[in-house]
């Protein structure tokens, strides 16, 4: 039996598709700009102690697109409604890349929504140095390749190996389209987010970064550190933009440490 299940919940005015797995205190996970890639080793490891709740972003193929959502701030507002209606707050949260952007917007609006926050290679702030790589003028293959430091990473092959099926191609295009729709300009960041995050106090926050990340520069992590008082940083060696699959053991260790604090 699969260690996870997928269900559709009528919430916040839509039919939200939610992947759920594990046991224990809930952990909300926001997937990245290309969508939920599937249940990986790191999910399995964290699911031993917590129940992972993974909403599939509206417009990414399963949860219907919500036209009124026109920015990551709107999307954060939508997920806040979801948490309130499901009486899940306060909750631990982990967000990956653009998923980190969502979590940061929610924390900025209401820091008490979360009990702990882990942002992995988060977009959302203009980097103090460098640029968030523009993923839109890239083919899917080029983008995927640039997300990992080593393309022979076993789980990278598991997710993206082999020929792309028409269904996968369409799912990628759905994700790219929705990401462009809400994150095109300013590109994958919100100029006011950093100021609002300065109001976030007493939210244990961990910023995780693969040392060889070619998508989100170190300057984004610095910007988050400057904005969120007390945010800690974990640098994962031998990993690019996807430390959770490139160095899963170290990733799980630092995340578990934060969530157990």
């Amino acid at each position: 039996m699969a260690p996870w299940s997928e269900e559709t919940i009528k919430v916040a005015g839509t039919a939200l598709v939610l992947v759920k797995g594990g046991a224990g205190k809930p952990l909300l996970m926001f997937h990245d700009e290309l969508g939920y890639p599937g249940w990986m080793q790191w999910n399995e490891a964290l699911a031993k102690e917590q129940t992972l709740l993974i909403p599939l972003q509206p417009g990414f193929g399963k949860t219907p697109k919500l036209d009124w959502i026109r920015s990551y701030r709107d999307l954060g507002g939508f997920y806040a409604m979801v948490l309130r209606e499901m009486k899940l707050d306060p909750i631990d949260v982990i967000g990956f890349s653009a998923g980190g952007f969502i979590a940061a917007e929610m924390a900025a609006a209401d820091p008490e929504m979360f009990s702990r926050m882990v942002l992995v290679a988060p977009m959302g702030l203009k980097p103090t140095e460098g640029e968030i790589r523009d993923i839109f003028p890239l083919t899917i293959r080029s983008y995927l390749r640039s997300t990992v430091a080593d393309p022979t990473t076993a789980e990278f092959g598991k997710i993206y190996g082999g020929e792309m099926t028409p269904e996968q191609f369409e799912a990628f295009e759905d994700a790219r389209t929705e990401t462009a729709r809400i994150g095109w300009e300013p590109y994958m960041h919100n100029p006011s987010l950093g100021y609002l995050l300065q109001g976030v106090k007493n939210l244990p926050t961990l910023l995780v970064r693969g040392q060889k990340d070619a998508i989100v520069p170190k300057g984004c992590i610095t910007a988050y550190q400057q904005a969120i008082a007390g945010a800690k940083v974990a640098e994962i060696p031998d990993a690019g933009h996807r430390p959770e699959i490139e160095n899963s053991a170290e990733f799980v260790r630092v995340v578990k440490t934060c969530l157990a604090s």
């Binding site: 028409p166 389209t177 462009a180 729709r181 300009e185």
Partner: protein, 443 residues
């Protein structure tokens, strides 16, 4: 029939190798831009348009692209405004202004009204969504491309026809004070012709609005299919589509001899020609295409759609420097594609004697009321360009005008698009004649 002259106004001085190394025209570095040469050429192309008028063309067509030596018309309305003053009789046909890319429909309404006023009612305004690469150049969100196109179109028509001042709060555009003090010379507004490259959604939209659809060098077989879609939609709208609803534009070059035409005609494949307009990742930005178009693309492994195959899309492309031997190989392949394109009637090159029957075949198959010559690309000299225009005008145009009369191909000025009623229950009349395609092996 209305017969038009069109050129992309290519920047003719970029080294071909720079285009090859970039794998496309879009995004070739502007370090190759020579201001003196460009100044000469902007003036030359205006003179060339005036010459086309003198030679008897009915229309001068202009277009707009950004960030590419493929086309120097970065701000087409500037050229259109100058031609409005310089020319006397020709229609000035814009094919077209990229509304979602410009993102300012009120300004567009004003600019076009001024052009129409200066020309005393000779403007034909066409609007497009803008190529994929244009979305990147102008930072226009591709996921809202069609929405913005539709909203800008509706807004401009209102700005031209609804007395102001009034306020506008739309989805993508917002104006406190709409009251343009330049309204088009033509009432209620200039004719609207919509150019396209085979998007079924655009064809349907045109038919619903009774706008002529101009196929931009589209393959002749699929063009027939799309024009059937147009005619089917038209029938549902209660009218019979005819030549007045269709236009066609085709790359054409004419020289005194076949040999010279074939040699210079290779300008159409310079740097890779139209298929090298932009790289795949720039051609299909996220959300630019409809869901159904993406599904069609996803299900055609190795196949081609709008010139972009799925294989090509998945290729990671760098800007590596190619070797001389590779340039030779690229050129050899391009020459093959040049010959193939001529066989498929995608490029028409020759002396007047060989060009005329090919164009007649197109007219017979597609039955357009508007026919436009898309003139040579690449580093062809001014003198050779002017000779080609003269030969088109003096020898080719009279022959096709006579043939259009024989085929009864009225243009939108002779018969208003949508004026022929379709009667409920009656079968719609054919709008194309596919018969010659079989004998030409183009089915």
């Amino acid at each position: 029939m209305k017969i038009g002259y069109f050129t992309e106004r290519p920047y003719r001085w970029v080294p071909e190798e720079a285009v090859f190394n970039n794998h496309a025209f879009f995004a070739v570095s502007n370090k190759y831009f020579d201001r003196e040469k460009a100044a000469d050429d902007y003036n030359y192309y205006l003179d060339e348009a005036c010459y086309a008028e003198e030679m008897g063309f009915d229309a001068i067509a202009l277009n707009e692209h950004h960030g590419t030596p493929f086309c120097m018309g970065g701000v087409m309305n500037v050229e259109a405004a100058i031609l409005a003053r310089l020319t006397k009789k020709v229609k000035i046909v814009l094919i077209g202004n990229p509304l979602p890319v410009i993102k300012h429909p009120l300004r567009m309404a004003e600019e076009l009204a001024e052009i129409d006023l200066i020309s005393r009612g000779r403007l034909v305004t066409g609007w497009v969504r803008g190529a994929g690469s244009e979305q990147f150049f102008n930072n226009a969100n591709p996921a809202y491309n069609r929405e913005m196109f539709n909203e800008a179109h509706d807004f401009i028509l209102q700005a031209w026809t609804k007395p102001g001042p009034w306020r506008y709060e739309g989805k993508h555009f917002h104006y406190r004070h709409v009251n343009p003090w330049a309204l088009p010379y033509q009432k209620p507004h200039p004719p609207i012709w919509i150019p396209g490259v085979l998007s079924p959604e655009t064809v349907q939209w045109c038919a619903e609005h009774r706008y002529p659809y101009i196929g931009l060098g589209t393959a002749i077989g699929p063009t027939c299919d799309l024009w059937d879609i147009y005619a089917d939609v038209a029938a549902k709208q209660g009218y019979q589509a005819g030549p007045e609803n269709f236009g066609y534009l085709i790359p054409t070059f004419v020289a005194e001899t076949e040999e010279k035409a074939q040699e210079l005609g290779r300008g159409f494949i310079y740097g890779g020609g139209q298929t090298a307009f932009s790289r795949p990742e720039h051609t299909l930005p996220p959300g630019y295409n409809s869901k159904s178009a993406i599904r069609m693309l996803a299900k055609q492994p190795g196949g081609s759609w709008l010139g972009v195959s799925q294989d090509k899309l998945q290729q990671a492309r760098g800007a590596e420097q190619a070797e001389d031997a590779e340039y030779d190989e690229i050129r050899r392949k391009l020459v093959n594609s040049y010959q193939k394109a001529q066989k498929g009637l995608q490029i028409i090159v020759g002396s007047p004697k060989t060009v005329i029957p090919k164009i007649k075949t197109m007219l017979q198959v597609l039955r357009p009321g508007i026919f436009t010559f898309f003139h040579i690309q690449g580093p062809v000299s001014n003198a050779d360009r002017l000779t080609s225009i003269r030969l088109m005008a003096q020898e080719v145009v009279p022959a096709i005008r006579a043939y259009a009369k024989e085929l009864d191909l009225p243009d939108p000025y002779e018969r208003t698009p949508g004026e022929v009623r379709a009667y409920a229950g009656a079968r719609r009349l054919p709008v194309v004649d596919r018969e010659p395609l079989t004998s030409l092996g183009l089915v």
